[in-house]
């Protein structure tokens, strides 16, 4: 998804993993994804730059859809759609 499309998303839940490092953002994603319904979208906020690679890998493994990420001021905002 493009940044324009991503910025239009209203996630059902946002988990804040800023300040945590590996594997913090993944742990936060694991906890957060069960709090949205199938088909809904979770946003993850992270400062660890590895999250750009790790969150898609996590989503693929867990069977969710990774929608993309955008740079905010000083952190990343990443989007995952719960698929099951």
């Amino acid at each position: 998804m493009s940044v324009t499309e991503l910025s239009a998303i209203q996630p059902q839940k946002t988990v804040d993993a800023r300040g945590t490092s590996c594997p913090g953002p993944i742990l936060a994603a694991k906890k957060g994804i069960v709090e949205v319904k199938v088909g809904e979208i979770m946003a993850v906020l992270a400062t660890d730059s590895g999250t750009k690679k790790d969150l898609p890998a996590w989503a693929k493994k867990m069977g969710h859809e990774y929608l993309g990420e955008m740079e905010e001021s000083g952190y990343l905002k990443l989007f995952v759609k719960r698929m099951k």
Binding site: G19, T20, S21, C22, P23, G24, I26, L27, A29, K30, T47, A57, W58, K61, M62
Partner: protein, 155 residues
């Protein structure tokens, strides 16, 4: 799919690597079994443990080796413990979880931790000298778990 990790080393840096991988795998939905043997048993020691009658050599081992995660050294540049302290400070600055936090998270995520009973006998550790919530077993248990897993690491 299950992951198994043999933790052999009792160094802080290597223990961190083992627990970061264990927590990452558990967060990705995998069952994780960690098998602690030899020096790695020091990671699981209680800082204050009940006294036991031990042989002279086992008493020496027990007295000289680190009691729990807070006392571990690093595998390079430890400088008698100064290196470990500096490493902990840098990691805190970089927001890396401490080993204690990673162990706690691993427990919350249901990571199975097995202590090697043979090593416990050699080093003279009794069950009540190690933290609660462990299983106690030997090589066959590890191999049984490894057969069911697709990744096995020796750290």
């Amino acid at each position: 799919m299950k992951k198994t990790i043999i933790v052999f080393s009792g160094d802080l840096d290597k223990a961190l690597a083992a627990f970061i991988i264990a927590n990452g795998a558990a967060a990705m939905g995998d069952d994780v079994t960690m098998f602690f043997t030899f020096w790695a048993l020091n990671i699981l020691r209680k800082p204050q443990a009940p006294a036991h009658k031990k042989s002279f050599l086992q008493g020496m081992f027990g007295g000289m080796m680190p009691k729990g995660p807070a006392k571990l050294g690093i595998s390079k540049m430890n400088f008698g413990g100064m290196g470990a302290k500096m490493m902990r400070r840098v990691m805190r600055q970089q927001n890396v979880n401490s080993l204690e936090e990673l162990i706690q998270t691993a427990r919350e995520q249901g990571v199975k931790m097995i202590a090697c009973t043979m090593s416990m006998d050699v080093l003279g550790f009794k069950e009540d000298e190690l933290v609660d919530g462990l299983e106690y077993a030997g090589v066959a248990t590890y191999l049984g778990e490894a057969d069911e897993s697709n990744v096995s690491l020796f750290i």
